[in-house]
Amino acid sequence: MAKIRGDIKIDVEKCKGCELCIVACPLDAIALSDGINKQGYHYAVLVEDVCNGCKSCALVCPDAVITVYREDRESGKKEPVAELRKVTGDITIQVGVEEEGN
């Protein structure tokens, strides 16, 4: 099975080292750094090259410091976030978006 390739970028200066992303990562790919940032926190870093861009870490990140990357496949090509960002003005009613479970 071809692994979906993903990656994350962490804004380490805003990270407070809460470790929630670490436990959320299903692939155990994140850990705390040894060093500290200017705020005085050990920040999160990606330590295993196994990321598949599942977004779990980003979803639970209270400081919104994680950007998630993924290779362009038909399935994951465009996510609602990017798509809907263009929508403005009048909206249409829908019974919820982003239905995919986790």
């Binding site: 959320a24 990140c61 209270p62 950007t67 362009d72 995919e100």
Partner: protein
């Protein structure tokens, strides 16, 4: 730990901080659920493209500074009065999307009267209710939603029902009111919960267009600092103690007909 080498170039961004959430360090303690809740509210605003027509209200509590982070027009409200403030806004600007973002002390203690009457009038607003069972900003006092036996700075020996009453399930009460259009309880302690909570927020915003009543989203959250726990621990405690008492799920959902006859 050693950071791996990144390879952003041949990948696409599939998730990033919403542009509606200002790129500022938040004052919340490490691991605080407010950050996630802020983010999903702002994601919803961005995805629905309603940044220009949204007005938020954040009252006293840890989230009093929400306007430092949310890039929409906002009003800071007096403690407990967010829904009254939102009523004032919405009644005068019925074409705007109005939401409040309130904590448990605010919404369910001092603001009980305003909360109930706002929902009873069926004001067409979204109320986001962060329930972390404690007063955060003032330093960890008992909240109306504090669990029995839970220790806080004003229940140093644990909350006792016979003396301080039981935790108030205000969301259950609100679901009984005809003015409530959509009432749900969500959490943000796991990726799955975050997704569902965000969907609830999206619903709550969208359905304002129908003018059919109040949308109410409770988010069960944590308070690592005042619970005296590390963030990860606090989310476990949440799962183990909060959720059994505050079970997640919808309490009142509009029917298909109600949604279609917009």
């Amino acid at each position: 730990m050693q950071e791996i080498e990144h390879h952003y170039d041949d990948l696409s961004v599939i998730y990033e901080r919403p542009a509606t959430l200002l790129d500022t360090r938040m004052h919340y303690c490490p691991g605080c659920g407010h950050g996630v809740a802020h983010r999903i509210v702002m994601e919803a605003v961005e995805e629905l493209g309603i940044q220009e027509t949204t007005v938020g209200v954040a009252p006293v509590g840890c989230s009093v500074f929400a306007y430092h982070y949310m890039n929409v027009d906002m009003q800071e409200a007096a403690h407990g009065r967010a829904t009254a403030v939102a009523t004032g806004i919405k009644r005068c600007r019925p074409d705007k999307y109005v939401f409040t973002y309130q904590g448990d002390g605010d919404l369910a203690a001092i603001g009980t009267g305003e909360t109930i009457h706002t929902v009873n009038r069926g004001e067409n607003i979204l109320i986001v209710f962060i329930n972390n069972a404690i007063y955060g900003m003032t330093g960890g006092q008992m909240a109306p939603t504090t669990l029995i036996t839970q220790k806080t700075s004003t229940t140093p020996y644990g909350r006792e029902a016979s003396f301080m009453g039981n935790p108030l399930k205000i969301t259950d009460l609100l679901a009984m009111l005809p003015g409530a259009f959509y009432v749900t309880r969500q959490a943000v302690n796991t990726p799955a919960h975050v997704r569902k909570a965000k969907k609830a927020i999206l619903n709550g915003f969208q359905w304002q267009k129908l003018n059919k009543g109040t949308c109410f989203v409770e988010i069960v959250s944590n308070c690592p600092t005042n619970w005296g726990m590390k963030p990860v621990e606090s989310n476990k405690w949440l799962e183990e103690y909060m959720l059994p008492f505050y079970p997640l799920g919808d309490m009142k959902v509009p029917s298909k007909e109600e949604l279609e006859n917009g």
